[in-house]
Structures are given as structure tokens and as C-alpha cells.
Symmetry: C2
Subunit: 246 residues, 2 copies
């Protein structure tokens, strides 16, 4: 009785780890949101797969537990890393009620890392990862975190920067950050990472505030020392003047 | 003329991505801190490899640029992800001065994600990644960031929690967080991830303050809703009461 919660990374098959591949090969059934199932369908076509709709996280998790309790080995697949806004928490929580039901989380490359790689090196140093989705978190809490991170000069990585329902969240986030950081601060968008149309766009914080993002975008707001070096977004390792490179 | 900056993940060969493997296979020379070179030496033994000492980041980077300018394809290997306290920034900065010298950052699983997987699901929601090393960052800046993250109930992931030179940094960090979070707050240590002796230890914030960490440890401090579920550290997806699982 085992459930793997498997991170498949940004999307391209070769950005999955060997360990993730092994977990999927070892499984009797693979369950996931349909977009992620489609990404791995060809490679694991001999496996039983169950597609689950978006926002069906609870049902997906119940299904995984049910299948595992039958004695089957189950993989729940997640885009990126299952531990960053992913299914790892729900599965650990639900499976914890059943003795003998093992859960193994298999990490994957999360969007903060895959997006950073496309832009160059925007993180490098201390950073905060904040989701702009207010579905499960009050917007005031999100605002406080943006302020706290901006005030203390952390690089900020934004997940879920926009959706149809909340088009103005990115603009509002930028306005908060701009109280503490210059409108010229170096920012970047990582768009369609691991998909067709993959692209990094380096811009200023002022420009970012006027940019529309979608759900396939991860946003990076640099700290006071982040630079645009030949259209790469590069943050130095600290605050030492010896860090002459940047 | 190309430099790959390659993340090899926590250490086990199968936690590297296919893309990282391809980059290494394509390279004429592989350069890295000796601990990382040793991790991959067997698999890529037919390659020219250059070991570089710890803290030799600048020299390692200069060497990579020099080799690439000869027309060779170079990989600089990093543990975890090269974009999180890794070599990606230095390489992008130095290589940016030479026209035609391409840099490609190949992401890997960073300790926040590999450590989280060992503990269960400590991150899941908004989090701050903060290094307790004050080599390049003033300790006051680190303290401000700890306070900002604690005050706004972000999960906190600590890199470099201790070294011989600064044994009390973790204790001091916990004391700051304890001003805003209960001593009973759920915390965890991920020790030797990807190495022999891999282990996750779930404990309270009060206990964490009395714990000695080493440089092979990543520390996780939960938010107000993080729970210990059967010795797994699990953070819910948000603040909704519908999130009944946890």
C-alpha cells in the first residue's frame, strides 16, 4: 500500500528526475490533473491512468487513497514540485489516517527554479515565494507578505500571478512592492516554461505593473542589487563589495 | 562557446534530471566543487573533470569562462539548483562580458524541495528561503528577514543553518521567530538528504532552538497551521476551514 506523490517538473519529459520516472514505472495506476497526465501519457502509455479535473484536488486524493488501500501502488502526478502549492500536503494528511499506508514524496523542479533558469539567475540569494491566488488565503495576508518581503529586500517569486477572475492582482502586488523598491528595479517573467513558446522577459518593476500575466507565467521581482546583464536577470550572492562581478 | 551551469540535485544520481545528464554528456570539461564532482565521477568518468576548492567560486567561474573561450563546451556543476545560493549568478555575470559566449542554466532540485519531500509537506504554501550565513550578508539583514517572514506567518526554510564559525545562528534565528510564533510550532530538520543517513526529524520550535545543525541540514519552520501528522510535517494549502484534512 503505497502512494508516490511525484513532481514531473516544468513539462518537458527530460526535466523529470530518474527517481520520478522509476516511481511512475513502479506504479499500477497514475492519477493526476489532466494537463499533467497528458504530458506523460506517451511515455507511460502502458499504465492505467486516471485524469482528474482542475480544482478536483480532494477527489483526486481520495481516489489515490482508495486505490492504494486495494493494495495497488499509486502515483499522484503534479506539475513542478508536489511540495510547492502541490498535492503532497493533502496526500500526507489523508493517508496519515490509515495505518500501513505509505506515502513517498518524489520532488520535482518547481517553477521558482525552472523559471529562474530561463531568466538567468534572479533568485541566488534569500527570496520569498508568494502565491497571488486568494482562493484559500485572504488577500490581506498576501499583501502583508508582499510588504514584508519588499521591505526586507528579498527577491520575490510570484506563483499564480493572475487568472480570469483576478486580472489586477499582479498590478496591485507591484504597487505594494513599489513603496519599498524603485520602479526601475529589475524584474522578469518566465512564460510557458517547459512548453512551446518558452520565454524569459526582463523588465522594470514599473513595466511589470503594466503587464498582463497568465497562469503559465511565473514572476520574479529582483532585490535592490539585481541587475539586467545582457537581458539576463542576475542577483548577486549578497551585499559584499567584493562581489565585484555584478 | 557554451557554459552549462548544471544542478545535480541533492546527490543521488537518479535525482538529477535527464536534461542535466545530457548537458554533462555534451560537455568537453566538467568543473565543480570537489564534493559535487565526486558525486558524479563514476557516471562521467570518461570526461575531463576539474575539481575546485570550497569558496573558490570566483576562480571556478573564471576557469569555466577561460575553457569556454577556447571553444570548448563546459559544465559547471552545482549541488541542488544552481540558481539558489549557487553558481548561476556568477557565471551569467562573468560570461555576459564576452559576446557569443552562451550560458544555459540547467535547473536541479534545490534543498528546499528535496528536504521538504523527506519531511512530508512542510512548504506547500507561501514560504521564505533564508540563508543563515553572514559571509556576504550582514546579520542584521538576516534578522530583519526572519522577523518579516515570522510576522506574516510564512513557512521559513533555512539554508546554511550553522557552521563551525557560527554555532549559535540557528538558536538566534529561532528566538526571533518565537516572538511571533508559539514554541510549539511544528518544525523539521532534513538531514543528509540524498546521502547516507538521510533523515527527517519533526520537532517543535522550542526544541529546534536547542538543536545543533550542521551544513548538511536544511531547516523548516512551519506556519501557524502546520501540523505533525504521524511524524510528517504537513502544511495546509491555505487558511480556509474547508481545508478540513489537516
Amino acid at each position: 500500500m503505497k502512494i508516490y506523490v511525484v513532481g514531473i517538473g516544468p513539462g518537458r519529459y527530460d526535466e523529470m528526475t530518474g527517481r520520478a520516472e522509476k516511481a511512475l514505472l513502479e506504479s499500477d495506476v497514475i492519477i493526476g490533473y489532466k494537463v499533467y497526465i497528458q504530458l506523460i501519457r506517451d511515455r507511460f502509455s502502458h499504465k492505467e491512468m486516471i485524469e482528474s479535473p482542475m480544482r478536483g484536488e480532494e477527489a483526486r486524493c481520495d481516489m489515490a487513497v482508495e486505490e492504494a488501500l486495494k493494495g495497488r501502488t499509486v502515483s499522484v502526478v503534479c506539475g513542478g514540485d508536489p511540495g510547492v502549492y502541490g498535492m503532497a500536503g493533502l496526500v500526507c494528511g489523508k493517508a496519515g489516517k490509515y495505518e500501513g499506508l505509505q506515502v513517498e514524496v518524489v520532488p520535482g523542479i518547481t517553477a521558482a527554479c525552472s523559471g529562474a533558469a530561463v531568466l538567468g539567475a534572479p533568485l541566488i540569494h534569500d527570496f520569498a515565494v508568494i502565491s497571488l491566488s486568494d482562493l484559500l488565503t485572504p488577500w490581506e495576508t498576501i499583501e502583508k507578505r508582499l510588504k514584508a518581503a519588499a521591505e526586507t529586500d528579498m527577491v520575490i517569486c510570484l506563483y499564480n500571478p493572475a487568472s480570469r477572475r483576478r486580472r489586477d492582482h499582479l498590478k496591485r502586488a507591484c504597487e505594494i512592492v513599489m513603496k519599498y523598491r524603485s520602479p526601475g528595479a529589475v524584474c522578469g517573467l518566465a512564460v510557458n516554461v517547459g512548453r512551446d513558446g518558452e520565454e524569459g522577459r526582463v523588465m522594470t518593476l514599473g513595466q511589470l505593473a503594466e503587464t498582463e500575466a497568465d497562469m503559465f507565467t511565473t514572476v520574479f521581482i529582483g532585490n535592490s542589487r539585481t541587475r539586467n546583464i545582457g537581458e539576463k536577470m542576475v542577483t548577486p550572492r549578497g551585499y559584499s563589495d567584493e562581489d565585484i562581478v555584478i
